[in-house]
């Protein structure tokens, strides 16, 4: 599904990604973990086409996408749920869930409004509300829903539970788990919180200072408290 090979990304002169490689197979949930400032979000942005890498290759569904514009990548079937939600303040909930759907009638069948509402009940009664009036948790649900209606094959989620109250962390986590159970979506998940990462992901990459320092099955990480404390804890 997704193959990232040795990408190097800069923000201006700042050398953020210094050779990152990872891959996500079909139907897999992969977590990208590490503390703040190590380059997780930059990796997501590079894959989504917002901050293209200067060197390296990104192959999605067999096509090289590292220099495609973000909207082309989105049309190919990649959906981004960005850090900080970033929903559109002037658009209503209903608009979020309808205007970005692709034209492909076949793919539209998968994610109907009804399905989104059953996944995220709080959105059902807020269809006419503008995005800026929702709470943090509701915004996060909307951000995920907005991307789901585009029927992506690969979902990039950047810290979906960040800044949410425990109640919403549970709700969102539950939603992601049910997505995982269906097995149709591949998910690349960025998380800072180890417990959430372990719960949701099958495979993990841990980053530090712009490079991947550990990768393996989630169970494998459970037995390595040393890695946990060095790269994730205090």
């Amino acid at each position: 599904m997704l193959d990232v090979k040795d990408i190097h990304t800069y923000y201006g002169d700042s050398y953020i990604l210094q050779g990152v490689s990872l891959s996500v197979s079909e139907g897999q949930v992969v977590a990208l973990m590490g503390r703040n400032g190590v380059g997780k979000t930059t990796t997501m942005r590079s894959i989504a086409g917002l901050t293209p890498p200067r060197m390296g290759s990104i192959v999605f569904k067999g096509r090289e996408i590292s220099h495609l514009p973000a909207y082309s990548i989105a049309h190919m079937g990649m959906g981004l749920v960005p850090q900080g939600r970033r929903i559109f303040g002037s658009l209503s909930v209903l608009e979020h869930l309808t205007v970005f759907r692709g034209k492909d009638k076949e793919r539209r069948k998968d994610w109907t409004l009804e399905r989104i509402f059953s996944l995220f009940p709080p959105l059902r009664n807020r269809t006419k509300q503008k995005g800026s009036t929702l709470s943090g948790g509701e915004q996060q649900m909307l951000a995920i829903g907005r991307t789901l209606v585009t029927n992506p094959e690969l979902l990039l989620m950047d810290e979906p539970t960040e800044g949410l109250s425990p109640l919403f962390v549970k709700e969102v986590g539950r939603a992601i788990q049910s997505l995982k159970k269906e097995g149709k979506l591949s998910i690349l998940l960025v998380e800072q919180n180890l417990a959430i990462g372990l719960k949701l992901a099958d495979y993990m990459y841990i980053m530090n200072k712009g490079v991947i320092v550990f990768e393996g099955l989630s169970e494998g990480l459970l037995n390595r408290p040393d890695i946990q404390s060095t790269y994730l804890g205090i």
Partner: protein
């Protein structure tokens, strides 16, 4: 430079009347263009309204002489007064906004004057304008002689403007262009600087207008029109913004073009339109930029790679100065009897459109403390720094610095009381050299920042201190490198030194080691730990090793709240902290 001066003095008597009239216009518009260059190229204020001051003073001369029959001295005086007054008044409104707003509003305001000039016919002569403005002296009736007068005024104005841009005040303008936020947190009242330069440039534009009025003997609404403002801007850009000389070249180019074209082509406006388009597309940096002469210096590329890095570790030697301490910091600090309250936060909350970023934070930090602030992303750490330094005002609560309430003070005032900070994303002045960056850091709290007439390089006190500060990181040899050509690691270090330059008592460091290599991180930690023990330091860090090495106390933030505060051991042992970082799975 000297050659062109000789040429401009010696050659003209041999030229045809047409060329002499061109020369007159060139020097007049050069003054206008240079005044715009100071605003645009040096301060970053793109004004499309300079025609207002040019035209107002031109009309003042015309009206005073033809309507009131007064002397030329009165006319010149009125011209200067009116352009100064207009700039002073409009500056109050216009300088409050930035960027696109500023440009559109300056355009709108100058258009208002244009409208007045052709509607208030009784006073201004309407579309026909005012004719018959005589030259002050009969000797000036000759265009050649007038040219020499104009050249003289141009040279004086040019000299004054040259001194201005090389003065301490001039340096502050370039700092504002590169990073207003940095200037504000370095102690500069940015609004005031912008206002002063706006008025000064308005006066220079007015001088050009006065000359124009006497030269052409005739004023019409054209002098106030959009076209004059746009022509001036094109002159600046075509010659090369930020160079002063470029504006002179641009003036020569555009004046020549306009006059030759209109003499030979009926529809020369189309060519002028194409000139606008082609210049923008292909020569955005102007003729001077195209020739690679940017402020007379070519960018010096600093050597990057292992050589520079290791050089950095070796040259870094703790200097036995009052600003630097000895090795046993914590012992000295705990022995210090002055346990003054350096920083106090009481019930600080900050919300953004319903999202509570800081939730009822209260903490007291005593002087000499080294505190690290850690916590997961989105916990509110940088928001905390922004609130303490004045970039945000809290929604509730109070902040005191050494007992003084600073809650509503603007950032530059806080710096002058003793607060300094670094930024998470490097916030230096990219187009300025390392030493100019430091100079700005030093002058922020000094009155010398308002000096207009001396070259900034002549301030020996500032130079000496710059040498000391740059020496702390072994930077003296790189002092003339433009900051944007420095490696990221070097920029991060310079960022720290900049904060030290304003003699702070409380220092906020926002992720000082972000993006640094192992070696660079080591240098940075060494630097921070050797700072004056009297200095109170708060550091946001994600690198736990760094945090633990620098700090005596750790404060953990999560979800906008202050979770816990204690020693390293206490924090490492805390279950609550572990949960915040590693999390407990939900059921």
């Amino acid at each position: 430079m000297l050659g062109s001066l000789v040429v401009s003095l010696v050659v003209p008597p041999w030229l045809s009347p047409f060329l002499i009239s061109l020369l007159n216009l060139i020097v007049i518009y050069a003054i206008l263009a240079m005044s715009l260059d100071i605003l645009m190229g040096y301060t970053g204020l793109d004004s499309l309204g300079q025609a207002a001051f040019f035209g107002v003073s031109a009309y003042a001369v015309g009206i005073v002489i033809t309507r009131y029959g007064l002397s030329w001295e009165a006319a010149v005086l009125m011209g200067l007064l009116l352009s100064t007054g207009t700039a002073a008044l409009s500056g109050l409104v216009v300088v409050r906004v930035k960027g696109l707003f500023f440009t559109v509003i300056t355009l709108a305001v100058s258009q208002v004057f244009w409208g007045i000039s052709h509607r208030w016919g009784v006073f201004t002569g309407g579309w026909n304008g005012l004719r018959g403005i005589p030259r002050p002296f009969s000797i000036l009736e000759s265009n050649l002689n007038f040219y020499y007068l104009g050249l003289g005024v141009f040279l004086v104005a040019g000299f004054l403007m040259y001194r201005l841009v090389h003065s301490p005040f001039g340096l502050t303008l370039r700092g504002i262009k590169d990073s207003e936020s940095r200037m504000k947190t370095s102690g500069y009242n940015v609004w005031l600087h912008k206002y002063i330069v706006f008025v000064i440039c308005g006066i220079f534009s007015g001088v050009a207008g006065i000359l124009y009025s006497f030269y052409s003997g005739f004023v019409s609404p054209g002098v106030l029109s959009l076209r004059t403002s746009f022509d001036a801007m094109l002159m600046v850009i075509m010659g090369g913004a930020g160079t002063l000389v470029g504006s002179v070249i641009g003036s020569a180019a555009i004046v020549t073009l306009r006059n030759y074209l209109s003499a030979y082509l009926d529809h020369w406006l189309i060519v002028l339109g194409l000139v606008f388009i082609i210049t923008t597309l292909y020569a955005p940096k102007g003729i001077l930029g195209w020739l690679g002469v940017w402020r007379g210096k070519l960018p010096i590329r600093e050597p990057v790679g292992p050589v520079a890095e290791s050089g950095l570790i070796e040259t870094f030697t703790p200097v036995s100065e009052p600003i630097q301490g000895n090795t046993d910091q914590s012992a000295i600090r705990s022995k210090s009897s002055s346990k003054m309250e350096a920083l106090r936060l009481e019930n600080i909350s900050k919300s953004f459109a319903g999202v509570l970023a800081l939730d009822n934070i209260s903490m007291t930090v005593y002087s000499g403390t080294r505190m690290a602030i850690i916590g997961p992303n989105g916990a509110g750490k940088t928001t905390l720094f922004h609130t303490i330094s004045g970039i945000y005002y809290p929604t509730a609560g109070q902040i005191s610095l050494f007992g003084k309430d600073i809650t509503r003070l603007r950032p530059h005032v806080r710096t002058n009381i003793g607060l300094a900070r670094t930024f998470q994303i490097t916030n230096l002045y990219p187009t300025l050299t390392a030493i100019d960056n430091i100079r700005l850091g030093i002058m922020g709290i000094q009155p010398s920042k308002y000096l207009l007439h001396l070259p900034v390089v002549s301030l020996s006190g500032v130079n000496k201190r710059a040498e000391e500060l740059l020496g702390l990181i072994g930077f003296w040899n790189y002092r003339n490198t433009e900051v944007r050509n420095l490696s990221y690691g070097h920029q991060r270090q310079l960022e720290l030194i900049m904060a030290l330059a304003c003699k702070p008592k409380v220092l906020l460091l926002d992720e000082p080691t972000a993006g640094l290599s192992q070696a660079e991180t080591k240098s940075m930690v060494k630097l921070v730990t050797s700072l004056d023990p009297e200095l109170t330091i708060l550091v946001i860090e994600h690198d736990m090793d760094v945090a633990f090495e620098i700090a005596d106390e750790i404060t953990v933030f999560a979800n906008g709240q202050l979770l816990i505060r204690g020693t390293k051991e206490e924090i490492q042992a805390s279950a609550a902290v572990r949960e915040v970082y590693l999390g407990t799975p939900w059921v």
